[in-house]
């Protein structure tokens, strides 16, 4: 049995909500409890309504040397599971056996003190993460080199830029070397270059035969680093397999982000006008079904606009504007963009216009799509940037088939372009 590193057996965690005033437990005061006791001394605790099961009956087994990704939406119980694994809090039921020295990184820079210098904080943070003084002495130079803050190592960290601070913090964390490593989303620190370094360090750890449990929302990192993945949904373990790709797909398609986000429907008298009254705007798959989960860059995705035309105007252009994560407009497209002979034919009455999103063009992230209606050279019916019908779409994954392209690129868009070479003598 020595090859098992972590074995969780029916682990559950219950959080109580205050029984008297329905405040969060940590906000309650002695007075609340005394008042509660006086006003309702015989009230029994109603278990079902006053508690939340953050985790319910979680069982799994991780073999030594495995790298396991834990994925799930916010509130699915990922953090609670990590907290129990790191021994920060105890489970309410069940047990976990851990074989080996555990190191956990739920946050970088825990315990950093602003008044202390970089050097002092390395020792302090190292000790907090469970390193001994001799171990830190030994790794000190390496940590400083990794953090790239050599020149400021004796300056109080409150004078550091936030980038330097994060680099130093990650550097200490990266040099922790336990047999079992528990990591929560620490990759998202620093600039792109430093992120690359962090990811490199992570994969070094992951491929170095250590057991790693890794929570992230970065599906590319999970896919790249993990040999298997656990899917948590509403506190339950719903999938655990070595087919990481399968789990990621299931995760991306399972969650309904927010019903209203992927589809906009005119609730009545909005945007009244005789030329083109928008009725419905939505993101769909190739069969016309609304997609309310993240889409991959390699998926076939359509933008559909349904509207009502009372008075056909020959200058009518209908389309959409799309905005990236930063809010920058990426492009605007209307049905009259091409040669006139190729325009989609629309008539009075109800009609639907649809257009396929270019594959491998948008970068990862949340995009906003806005319906735009224009009478060419006459006036805007729905001017971009005003309060137009809007839907949102998350783009995640399907980056490229290139082995070199594994994470989101810089830039508002990320097209895959053709490259050719010619020999020059």
């Amino acid at each position: 049995m020595s090859d098992i590193a972590v074995q969780a057996n029916r682990v559950s965690k219950e959080y109580r909500i205050n029984r008297f005033q329905r405040k969060k437990t940590h906000e309650r005061s002695l007075r609340d409890d005394v008042v509660g006791l006086l006003t309702s001394p015989f009230r029994q605790r109603d278990e079902s309504s006053d508690s939340i099961w953050a985790l319910k009956d979680i069982s799994f087994e991780v073999k030594a040397g495995e790298v396991v990704g834990i994925i799930g939406r916010n509130g699915a119980g990922k953090s609670t599971l990590l907290k129990i694994l790191s021994r920060i809090t105890r489970p309410t039921e069940g047990a976990i056996d851990i074989y080996g020295r555990v190191g956990s990184l739920l946050e970088v820079g825990t315990g950093f003190h602003a008044e202390l210098s970089g050097r002092e904080n390395i020792y302090l943070n190292g000790a907090i993460l469970g390193m001994g003084k001799r171990e830190i002495d030994r790794k000190f130079d390496e940590i400083v080199a990794f953090s790239e803050v050599e020149k400021f190592i004796d300056t109080p960290v409150k004078r550091y830029s936030s980038g330097m601070y994060m680099r130093l913090a990650f550097a200490v964390a990266a040099h922790l070397d336990p047999e079992i490593l528990i990591v929560d989303e620490v990759l998202a620190v620093g600039d792109v270059q430093f992120q690359k370094k962090c990811l490199g360090k992570m994969s070094e750890v992951a491929h170095g035969g250590r057991t790693v449990l890794f929570v992230s929302h970065n599906m590319n990192a999970i896919e790249q680093l993990c040999g298997s993945a656990i899917l948590l949904e509403e506190g339950k373990l719903t999938d655990y397999s070595a087919d990481v790709h399968h789990i990621i797909t299931r995760y991306l398609s399972s969650g309904v982000n927010d019903e209203s986000r992927a589809e906009w429907i005119n609730m009545g008298g909005e945007y009244e006008n005789p030329y083109f009254k928008p009725l419905r705007l939505f993101v769909s798959d190739k069969d016309g079904n609304v997609i309310n989960h993240a889409v991959s860059r390699s998926d076939e995705v359509w933008i559909q606009i349904e509207g009502e035309i009372q008075k056909m105007d020959s200058t009518l252009s209908v389309g959409y504007a799309i905005y990236g994560e930063s809010g920058a407009q990426l492009y605007l497209s209307t049905h009259t963009d091409g040669p006139e002979s190729g325009w989609a034919k629309i008539h009075e009455g109800r009609c639907v216009l649809r257009s396929q999103l270019p594959l491998h063009l948008l970068n990862e992230g949340t995009h906003r799509i806005e319906c735009v209606v224009d009478l060419h050279n006459v006036r805007w019916v729905l001017l971009p940037g005003e309060h137009n019908p809007t839907v949102q779409m998350d783009v995640q994954g399907g980056l490229s088939e290139s082995p070199y392209w594994t994470r989101a690129r810089m830039g508002v868009m990320a097209p895959i372009l053709e490259w050719v070479a010619a020999n020059v003598n």
Partner: protein, 272 residues
């Protein structure tokens, strides 16, 4: 290979002493951090430790010594007051810091594992540095005034250990309750103020009528302050009965505080 079993709270009598020992270096670093950070960005730094009780003693000397003519066991009033204020301040600061320690370390508690006991212990240990400084100053002051310590000074560490134990015991319980009920943190300054007046810090315990002494002695700091003055100034007899009571109170507080702390420990991370 190390094996850890993570379970719902085990017996609340079981302290994980081995774990505390394993994390002794962290204890050291936390104490070191507290000491290091305490007087950062001040001009006179650690001199504040001496200045605070010294100024207070002079004020007491003027008010109680000069105007009220309170008895001071035949010592200069300033020295007498310092002899009470030094152990009292150590004790009061220890409790104040100890009580707030867990809440003040919420960031650590909710992100990293280590035996939580380390936090209140570290916060009180960090006060020892201040104590050493101010004690040295007091002895220097005594020599200037021409008061030489007797052999009784050898028992001084025992008195301080007693103060430390009482403060730790009380802090363990208080800081654990404070995690759930922040009221404790707000109540403490008032309690300490009252406690100060119930302790012979600025007056001599000879003011208390003989037949009320036993009740007075239930305050464990009566024995500590009396013992401290005796050890330092060597006047009169050691207050043995009061010291014995203090010792018993200390043991009760330590055990009770530890049990309470241990009982509530598993919820710290969820509630803090």
């Amino acid at each position: 290979m190390t094996h850890i079993r993570i379970e719902p709270r085990s017996s609340w009598l079981a302290m994980e002493w081995r774990e505390v020992w394993r994390f002794r270096e962290l204890l050291f670093f936390l104490v070191w951090r507290d000491v290091k950070v305490r007087y950062k960005q001040t001009v006179i730094g650690i001199a504040w430790v001496v200045l605070q009780p010294l100024v207070a003693s002079f004020i007491f000397a003027i008010i109680f010594g000069n105007f009220a003519r309170m008895p001071s066991d035949n010592l200069p009033y300033v020295i007498f007051a310092m002899g009470g204020l030094v152990p009292w301040n150590f004790f009061a600061n220890s409790i104040q810091r100890g009580t707030g320690s867990l809440v003040g370390s919420a960031g650590l508690i909710s992100k990293v594992y280590f035996p939580r006991l380390i936090i209140p212990v570290a916060s009180i240990l960090a006060g020892l540095v201040d104590l050493a400084v101010v004690l040295t100053a007091l002895i220097v002051l005594m020599l200037i005034w021409g008061i030489t310590p007797t052999l009784a000074i050898l028992t001084l560490p025992l008195m301080l250990l007693l103060a430390f134990g009482i403060a730790l015991g009380a802090s363990l319980g208080l800081t654990a309750i404070n995690v759930q009920y922040r009221d404790v943190g707000y109540a403490m300054p008032v309690v300490m103020q009252l406690w100060l007046y119930a302790t012979p810090v600025i007056y001599s315990s000879s003011l208390i009528p003989e037949n009320w002494r036993w009740l007075y002695g239930l305050n464990p700091m009566v024995g500590v302050i009396g013992g401290f003055r005796w050890a330092l100034f060597g006047t009169g007899m050691p207050p043995l009965a009061e010291l014995a009571l203090s010792l018993i109170t200390m043991i009760v507080l330590l055990i009770g505080g530890m049990l309470l702390f241990n009982r509530m420990e598993s919820r710290f991370a969820d509630v803090v």
